[in-house]
Subunit: 341 residues, 2 copies
DNA sequence: TTGTAAGCGTTATCAA
DNA sequence: TTGATAACGCTTACAA
């Protein structure tokens, strides 16, 4: 209980070596003779030495900290991403200082200032509060995922292709009226490309299309109401047609499916639905939902590749300029029971 | 680009004060005259000073780091907890170093060693890999949530009461055959108390009961298969009775509900279902699921209260003994459409 | 192969 | 109200 901290000095005194030699035991063990290594090793155990990386940081000027800001964790997309980032520790040895997004830019700036004061070497940003130009101005490597990324590096799903895949599947399902339902109407967000892919594909195939956008959705309740409203409109406007609904996320798709299921006890033949993300919701819904999978493992791997290479570049040449890199990851079409083949 | 780090020394040189005075500007501003404060403030801006908390840690011996180990983030319970913990930053100023659980105790021990080397002042542990006795031996404040907690502090939902609530609701629904379906059979886990509450309530009311346990479930697929198997058994064994199914989590309950819905197009009248956690799944399922809510906000608030008080106690008296505290948080009965009143 | 001594950027203790 | 000076625990030239 309450033992004083054991330091290199204590080990040095106990073994008769200098602090330097103890340091070398950890960093350049080859310089020591096996016997001396043995001696030090014993002393470390006897005195219950515990290493202190804070001191090491100060001396070396490297923290191996990466800051990570998620907007929230209620969308499984974000928690899944976070999980994968944390697991990169096994490869990269970066430790993650994590913040869950503020309600406003002010508190998020506070988070970032705090992160910088801990000398983070890079930042992963999933939240949308701060414009990329400001993030770039902090002059550390930053990589964004599925958010506005004009001035910073980013990794995103190839949303356009995802939109095309979903739309083509609905067309193969003989739908003659396609509808895009979206819970975020901002054009600067990468996911807006899903709509572009949808539109182009409808046009190319000469299929009628319709779309519902809604902004500022902060809760499941809001999403439910919006979906219900959209579905009512769809039923009223496109009666008699075979309707293919493409939702910008699985939660919305699931709500649509549930509404139909409660009404008809099944997915009626004149409806086809596909979601986006391939989140757990997609397989857990009453009828497993077709979806466009975002390959989160690949997204994270690529994000870390970019971040790590920029961090290394900075260590070689602290004044080097950080060129934003933008990577796209292929989506995957996941066909389940709300569409056929 | 590539500016050298600006330190107190630079500010001191620039203003003609000493480093000490600059430090005081931040920590004891009252000692300075307003004019001098002004001068320093200007200099900080001109030179673009950025504070360095790593140096501060070393000098002060306080990190304000809390380590946090989640088992994974695929169960929304954990990601929700994590989200709430991160948000306590606004009250407590603790920063969280987060690890997502290892596959085995060996890698998890590595995480803990790393955390300790960063001089964390406390540990929140949600994963199950390391026995509490070992965690206690690290001699820093530790608080566990919904895991084995013999030797460490913990905050848990009052699972027994939760079990009673669920069971009583099913009885009020005129069920005459109750079934508990559980995806974790370890008796040392707090959630086992749900079963005890279930059993006692069945006995007290003289209602027939049955139970299905399965261990080592690592994926949705396994959970699905287990649920399907259990439901088949239930249908075969208890035909003609009104069956009240109490699932140890909402995901299992949702699977059961989906299986019934696909078969019958509705929840048949001789079935009632209730889950546990009140996770998003519960409201998103085809028929909104009744559930026992774990009050995550309260759990986290209480966990931080315990942790913070032990951390403070340790600062006053580094040799003080850490008495494990165990708190229970009341669950809430959430009645939705898979049970009535 | 090992040691000396000067950092790293703060804070704490005294003294003025 | 301010300033020297010595920590904090480790790394890193440079020297031996």
């Amino acid at each position: 209980m309450g033992e004083k901290r054991v330091t290199f000095k204590d080990i040095a005194d106990h073994t008769g070596f200098s602090k330097t030699t103890i340091s070398r035991y950890f960093n350049k063990p080859d310089y020591l003779t096996p016997e001396n290594r043995q001696k030090i090793s014993m002393a470390l155990k006897e005195l219950h030495y515990k290493e202190n990386k804070v001191a090491q940081i100060l001396a070396r000027g490297e923290t191996n900290f990466i800051g990570l800001i998620v907007p929230h964790m209620f969308m499984s997309f974000y928690s899944h991403l976070l999980d994968r980032f944390l697991h990169t520790y096994d490869h990269f040895d970066y430790k993650f200082l994590v913040f869950s997004g503020g309600a406003d830019p002010v508190s998020e700036r506070k988070y970032i200032r705090e992160l910088l004061s801990y000398q983070i070497e890079g930042l992963v940003i999933l939240s949308h509060m701060i414009p990329s130009e400001e993030l770039a101005s902090y002059d550390i490597p930053v990589v964004a995922i599925e958010r506005e990324d004009r001035a910073i590096s980013s990794v995103n799903t190839d949303n356009y292709t995802g939109g095309v895949m979903a739309t083509e599947l609905l067309i193969r399902n003989q739908c003659d009226q396609l509808i895009y339902v979206c819970t975020d109407s901002r054009q600067e967000v990468p996911s807006y490309d899903r709509y572009r892919g949808f539109l182009d594909t409808c046009q190319k195939n000469g299929i009628a299309q319709d779309a519902f956008f809604r902004d500022s959705i902060f809760s499941y309740q809001m999403m439910y109401q919006f979906s219900e409203h959209a579905l009512n409109c769809i039923c009223n406007s496109h009666d008699g047609k075979k309707k293919g609904i493409f939702c910008s996320n699985d939660v919305t798709a699931n709500i649509m499916l549930n509404l139909l299921f409660r009404k008809y006890g099944c997915l009626p033949d004149d409806f086809r639905i596909i979601g986006f993300d391939d989140s757990p919701t997609a397989q857990e819904s009453v009828l497993p939902l077709s979806s466009i999978r975002q390959q989160i493992d690949l997204i994270v791997a690529e994000a870390m590749r970019i971040l790590d290479s920029q961090i290394r570049a900075r260590k070689d040449d602290p004044s080097c300029i950080l060129q934003p890199k933008h990577s796209l990851i292929e989506p995957q079409l996941i066909i389940r029971q709300t569409t056929s083949g």
